[in-house]
Symmetry: C2
Subunit: 415 residues, 2 copies
Amino acid sequence: MRIGILTIGNELMNGRTADTNSSFIAREINLQGWHIEIMMSVGDDFDKIKTHLHYLLTFTDAVICTGGLGPTADDITTAAVAKAFDLPLYTDEKVLAYLKEIFVRFNLHWTENNAKQALFPQSAEVIPNPVGTAAGFVLPVQEKLVFVIPGVPSETNRMLPEGVIPILRRYFPQLVQHTFKQTVKTFGLSEAAVDERLARVNFDALGVSVGFYPVFPENHLVLIARSDSQEQAQKNLQKALDEVTARLKDYTFSYGEQTLEEIIAAALTEKKLTLAVAESCTGGLIANRLTDVPGSSVYFERGLVTYSNDAKIQLLGVPAEIIHQHGAVSEETARLMAEGVRGNAKTALGLSSTGIAGPTGGTKEKPVGTVYVALADGAQTICRHYAYRWDRKRNKLVSSEAALFLLKNYLQGKV
Amino acid sequence: MRIGILTIGNELMNGRTADTNSSFIAREINLQGWHIEIMMSVGDDFDKIKTHLHYLLTFTDAVICTGGLGPTADDITTAAVAKAFDLPLYTDEKVLAYLKEIFVRFNLHWTENNAKQALFPQSAEVIPNPVGTAAGFVLPVQEKLVFVIPGVPSETNRMLPEGVIPILRRYFPQLVQHTFKQTVKTFGLSEAAVDERLARVNFDALGVSVGFYPVFPENHLVLIARSDSQEQAQKNLQKALDEVTARLKDYTFSYGEQTLEEIIAAALTEKKLTLAVAESCTGGLIANRLTDVPGSSVYFERGLVTYSNDAKIQLLGVPAEIIHQHGAVSEETARLMAEGVRGNAKTALGLSSTGIAGPTGGTKEKPVGTVYVALADGAQTICRHYAYRWDRKRNKLVSSEAALFLLKNYLQGKV
């Protein structure tokens, strides 16, 4: 099935708002095994909407329009679509009653322009909006479908999968396939290296497509299995997942939407372990990421951003002569930082980072991007050395990821 | 001048890549006083590029195409544009020599497909690429202009203002206006409140347009003055800026692209002041933001993420009875945290945060979003109380901003 997208709004044309709906819609449509033929954006203008909508329909089986459904005068999408097909507008009494009820419930003052949101082109089917006042609709014309839904991303993101796709499946049952999707998050391999490791897997033969999504410093894979049989699609997805896991094992950390810090949170909570962190080059980013998870106060005791040598000596008990002899950025210092913060906080685990984020501070022996991360549990201290080559912010981010990845591996018994 | 945008690439059609070029181009074009008529995206397909490019030209004076200029087989934009106007391709020897030189300089292996990037449609003018191998071009056809530049955002972002816009100004000199742009960053007022304060300013009379860009938790304004006279445009921009400053004074912090942490960095460095931070609810985010600035080790001595009460007592010397009596989230604790970290680190300044980020931990007296930030300089300790109502991550972010804003105001002698 060939589908067109028409996003409507003056805010798109002056660049004030970036169109994020089109790529969201494209992803969801591709997930169904259907195809986006063309995407277009125009301003809130009667003639333009009419002209370009007809143009898009000459190349497609359905067009999904977003935007221009608000109650104010500049929102004209419904009227423009009706005019494009010479259809009168009608008031949907159920939608009107729902709108009035919302105004009462939220104690808002009803004005007549709000009734506009209950108007639809004749023969249109209403698509309910679960998260806003602007309902959408689908209009069957010339054996094709024109969808209109709001442009607010939080509303598009609900109404596309809950409203538009079920209707497309109903109108084009011969094109419906069973699809299953699985995200695999990886860290530690470049996109090219992931690609190379997976090069020999015959995903096509399994009816599985693989998308790569770099989310620095992680690489996410999205596997989509499609088949006429639900059972077969599920089976194929599992086979593809097994292949991916076998080849990327040590680099995967999430089979789903969970973040690295959420996985760590679950493991620390389950094992009833507490954690303290001593950071140098990451500057508080590790603590910040750990405390992004609700309930982190259960396991996160403290974080020390020991930026100066004095702080490392005074707060972590790193001997001045170690810093003098090996440098603040060294395996020795990283180990003593992890051990020091653990002892100081009386936690089960101590995690540390020290490195050179840049852009200055590098030397020939220890260039910008040199980083050591260490984890101490009282019995042993594990240290890892990395050489990154990004800018300051990305060096901080990838170093925080390396420290958290080490912690995750430890919690999973992998180090 | 009416301008069309055509972004080209299969990665756009399957949603893997979101099109950020179109909104960037639209903003830059609007800045010139010109108008985006229509935006379109299509896949890497000969016939589609040809058909839709002709369609766009029927509505516009110029079309700006991005994408599909790489050396590989799927990149066909140049050939498709040439075919659209029945033009042969020629090799630009200067571009070819430049490409070969780059391969030598970076010790890369030259393969013949790379020569493709030196091919251009007959009568096209080359647009140099200052940051990549893919040059662009402009093709004058039927008294209109077709631009083709790479789709990599870092390359588009350079070639649009440095290549495309100067050529448009050269071809359409009657449409050239003098424009001046100024960003004003604000914190502490909602978008609606900013709007209300500026409602009485007659920007239209000054020939100045105002854009609002919320960048949580900040609101940025972009003022653009346009006039046939350079002097007048500058004068009008200054008048508009004076009006904005008079009305938003206490809430503005940057007249340009500088971030809050960069402004603080400059002030601390200039005044030769050192800083230590004690964080609770912000969980390391204040330290992380401060250390995002290169060279922050000059003034940033340490950050203590005292998440537990023990850490507040042990590291900051907050008396247990104060926490017991007033709570960890209280003005008293915030003040003692700022004073404690200052004394402990022997810095000129101590900055602190304590609050309830949520989603749990709120009470009737201290609901989620309650936050205290404090700043100690040895002579005095200033404390501010806020009641936010966002989710956990945004409560952390706005609290870090409140603490940094207090510090900025202090450094500017405003508190």
